[in-house]
Amino acid sequence: MNLAKKHAMKTAMSMIRNMMISAVLLTLGAWPARAASEADYKTALAAAEAAEKEAGQLRNKWTTTEVELAAAKKAAAAGDFDGAIRAAREADALAKASIFQATSEKERWKDMEIR
């Protein structure tokens, strides 16, 4: 086998290998992601509720956090754990923002004071 043929075969093999890898990757991509489980939801909800409890201790809950917590529970009750996790994570982020606000306002309120 001359060098030109060897090179052509090597190139063909390489192309086939690349095509196979691409096919595998495409198949994996097309496959639906693993559905969120009830356990995942419970973990996300527990985190959100813990953050909201802390906001409550700081006397600074937000209405929007409460709305998302309720939405998470409603979605979970309907078996929509993807939606429930999304809402729980949103609630968690809002609760954490309210904690940040309450903490930073401990001193910052003085900036607004009429003196």
């Binding site: 209405t63 409460e66 910052r108 309120w109 607004m112 004071e113 009429i114």
Partner: protein, 295 residues
Amino acid sequence: MFRTILCPAFAALAAAALACVAASAIAASDKADPKTNAGINPVADATAFRKFFTDKFPKVKLEEFVNGPYSMDEDLHKQWEEKEQFAPYEFALETGKDMFSTPFRNGKTYADCFPNGGIGIRQNYPYFDEKEGKVVTLELALNRCREANGEAPYSYVKDEMASLTAYMAFTSRSKPMDIRIPNDPRALEAYENGKRYFYTRRGQLNFSCATCHVQSPGEHIRAEILAPALGILNAMPIYRSEWSGMGTTSRRFITCNSQTRAVPLEPQSDEYRDVEYFLSYVANGLPISGPGARP
């Protein structure tokens, strides 16, 4: 009956008299004031508070601030004068007067629970109760009166409570607000807590009470014109067109919190009682104008 008293001629005379009363009462109440403690100085706060608003609105007379948004604009003021001739809170005054004089099942009345039979005392509320170590508002005192006489407490936010406080406010109309801070560190702390609550941002919208009522009085927020914080509680309770009914000071605080997307506290929580104490103290000397009407 109340309409006769509300006529414009009377209002004009009362306003003239009040200009003098307010000035002397401010001076008198400042003299009787608490000692400062750890940088807390209510007298200096009240002076700075009044100066801020009179500097910001040089055309508005001091005693006019109690009329809230109606003090901010000449056209609005004319609207208010016309509205006062057929005041929307009048039904609450009639109801409140009847309720006030109707005996409880044990034969006693509200008059038995208050100094001077409950007449002409609104300007002294809230006060700091040294036995309890906390601020006592008029709404709280009314419900405590009911409970002490075997009656169920009323909702703090509307209807019966608004009618009762409307009648009591009316008997104090034109009297200067006269809030005392006794020489008790707990009273000073309650005042300071109220001040902190007033200036603290809360809710997803990141608003404090001061965002609207110090930084933006006279400005529109949607269709509403914001009231100045100075004397804002002197007009309570109020009839609000937005509510289509009467509302108490508790209702006002709760609504404000909700509008900033903060979960409101329970009515008559320590924070609300303290912020009422702070706002009333810095309005010392300004006339009681309640019950009021707002857009």
